[in-house]
Symmetry: C2
Subunit: 418 residues, 2 copies
């Protein structure tokens, strides 16, 4: 069988299974999720043995220690997966909710019912924990899911999904609702991205290269973010202590993630009060400053910023710092260099706060808070399936509801259109 | 200048204008819309003179009388455009609404603010009234719009948009917010569909051929419906009078539109009570029945249905009729042949009504009402920009809100992530 035929067969099975899981009762979905949590614990030896094969192959291929670490299904990682499954089971079921029901002048009642999207394709890199998290969220939202993780994690992913599918089968649910692309060939991804008749949505997670590849080759809608270049603008008259706390938290709490702070914009009237002390605190935290000339006059330990530093996603202990004339220049800088992820103003000026919230085009816009709050869990969405920085369908962190849509439902009593 | 460069220059101007109209106050948008309504009346002679050139060219090219009729900007058509502009001005402005604001355990307040999408590309066929309706809806939702109508209507569309743009300029609004692709070459559409950096959403309206061309060539998300193959299922025990009324209304009130009825499925226990009388009424209304053998036994004047009649969008006084064993067979038929547009059950059985509403996958699902109600105006959305039968972003009739999205807004008081 050709690769194309293999993938087509698999996606068709997913589409059939999607019709089944779309109509499962909430209790059936929750029971399956809780059974999966138990099974991951019970079958840990099997999972870790398969994972060990991936790790051994990875060591042979010379994967870095960091990559091997991300690949490893340690007891701790499995335990986090188990907690994740239980959390998803505890979330309210979005499917079937009817809202906005109203009586129209014709006498019909019109409302909107929340329904699953159908088949979700997840394409991601190393971490096998995405496998379980994504499967759980897709199932809870009534969707079938097709998983395609990193090729170096294929045996681990197949083992994890085997355990999940056995639980579906035990609950008499079509186990094709959760599938893994069983080959590591990258051509399989290209085939998958052509199956627009069966797959309703693609969510890629990983580095910018993977995401661009998916976006450029997909005939199916893609929800994605390429990167997070998050700015904090410190307005005139802002509390320097608050600005310092939020800048340090954004940059140093977890520098390798997409909602970390990458660039600080400082109103010229706040520069002298803020930058010398902030420079010391950043240096003490091991952060390299790349500044404009006005910044370097106040933080002499910094390096001169080059053109590429503006709009750069460092994912590291490096912070670009620029002194600006006012909020208008700050917002123009953000419009030019931002990535529509998360943008923050530190201000005590009410109209500036309102203007920034209204006018800045980003999926999260904040006043007086750390960029690190830009997260489905922190926002109360429950677990997060990804972040979208494109505006269609979802913008920002995506939880269960982003895996659903709404249809119109009409209750009539024999009405016809005059 | 190459065609590619012309289109790129135009879309870049639209993107710049989008930033302006996104931040207009509601009163500014409404004033512009009301000024446009007045200007269409005031400059009717100019508009109709340009329209006459299109009509003359159309007559020379041998366009059908029906096509010339759709192309004509009669006083009545212009008056309907004027009414449309006033209606859009009267609609509530969706932009800026903040909903779901909640305090999170961290102390931050998180909510969602409704914002425009950016630049909308409208691609459509003959009727120049779409030009004004779409421009009005896009402007009210804070978006820039790029219009591409039928080549036979180019002079009419340019004239209409000239009038609208003069009103924008008079109100000191960047007139690039409303643009027409100024060439009739179809290659211009292909160029437009590549401008993903500037255009956020494409809405095609017209025949299936146009829509497939757009969907296959677009790098930009497309909201569309190919066709409307709407079914009515008459359950066992349904009121035959109600079934007859709804079937006749769906088929005959306006047979050429996408929410017209195309196929009737009748439970075998309802067939003898319904079909003979319905057959007479349909014949009296000039409707040709194409039936399964059981149908023809009860409507002898009908013709035998061939395989292609199931799932066919007749857009004409033709109705496919099939007798089915039960609701399960009816729903399986709809799943196979429906177009996810509008599906109806006529029933007096509560659990069948609930099951049909829940399980049928269509953008509108109805109980005891005519398919003809599937319409933005009838649903209370205000004017309609189109209908989507794909599930991402919008499913079903699309009004102003479908031209917007939501960003997260966060109000903090200095919180950082622990």
């Amino acid at each position: 069988m050709t690769l194309e035929a293999t993938i087509a067969g698999l996606t068709k099975e997913s589409k059939k299974a999607a019709r089944v899981v779309a109509n499962l009762a909430t209790t059936a979905k929750n029971q399956a999720l809780l059974a999966m949590a138990e099974a991951l614990v019970r079958r840990k030896t099997y999972i870790q043995a398969e994972n060990e094969k991936d790790l051994a192959a990875g060591r042979d291929q010379g994967l870095s220690a960091a990559m091997l670490d991300r690949l490893a299904l340690s007891d701790k990682v499995i335990s986090a997966m188990v907690d994740g499954l239980r959390e998803v089971a505890a979330l309210p079921d979005p499917v079937g909710e009817i809202a906005e029901m109203q009586r129209r002048p014709s006498g019909i009642m019109v409302g909107r019912m929340r329904i699953p999207l159908g088949v979700i394709g997840m394409i991601y890199e190393s971490r096998p924990n995405v496998t379980v998290d994504a499967a759980a969220l897709c199932l809870k939202a009534g969707n079938a899911v097709i998983l395609r993780g990193g090729s170096e994690a294929l045996r681990s992913n197949l083992a994890l999904v085997q355990v999940l599918r056995d639980c579906l089968a035990a609950e008499k649910i079509d186990s094709a609702a959760i599938q893994v692309i069983p080959v590591s060939d990258r051509a399989a991804v290209t085939c998958m991205l052509q199956r627009e008749e069966e797959i309703d949505l693609i969510i890629p997670r990983g580095g910018e290269g993977l995401i661009r590849f998916v976006a450029e080759n997909s005939r199916i809608p893609v929800l994605k973010h390429y990167k997070g270049v998050c700015h904090v603008f410190v307005d005139a008259g802002a509390d320097p202590e608050m600005a310092m706390r939020i800048a340090l938290n954004g940059k140093t709490q977890r520098p390798g993630v997409c909602n970390a702070l990458e660039a600080l914009l400082v109103h010229r009237d706040s520069a002298a009060k803020l930058l010398p002390a902030l420079g010391d605190r950043l240096a003490a935290a091991g952060v390299e400053v790349r500044g404009c000339p006005q910044t370097l006059a106040l933080i002499p330990s910094g390096k001169p910023a080059v053109a590429e530093d503006w709009g750069m996603e460092f994912l590291d202990l490096i912070l670009a710092v620029k002194v600006v004339a006012d909020i208008t220049e700050a917002m123009a800088h953000i419009a030019q260099y931002g990535s529509q992820h998360t943008e923050v103003i530190i201000t005590n000026n009410h109209s500036h706060a309102q203007r920034f919230l209204r006018e800045v085009d980003a999926s999260s816009v904040m006043v007086n808070a750390s960029t690190r709050f830009s997260d489905g869990g922190q926002y109360g969405l429950g677990a997060e399936i990804g972040i979208s920085t494109t505006k269609l369908h979802a913008y920002g962190p995506m939880g269960l509801r982003a895996l659903t849509t709404r249809k119109f439902v009409v209750y009539g009593e024999g009405q016809i259109r005059e």
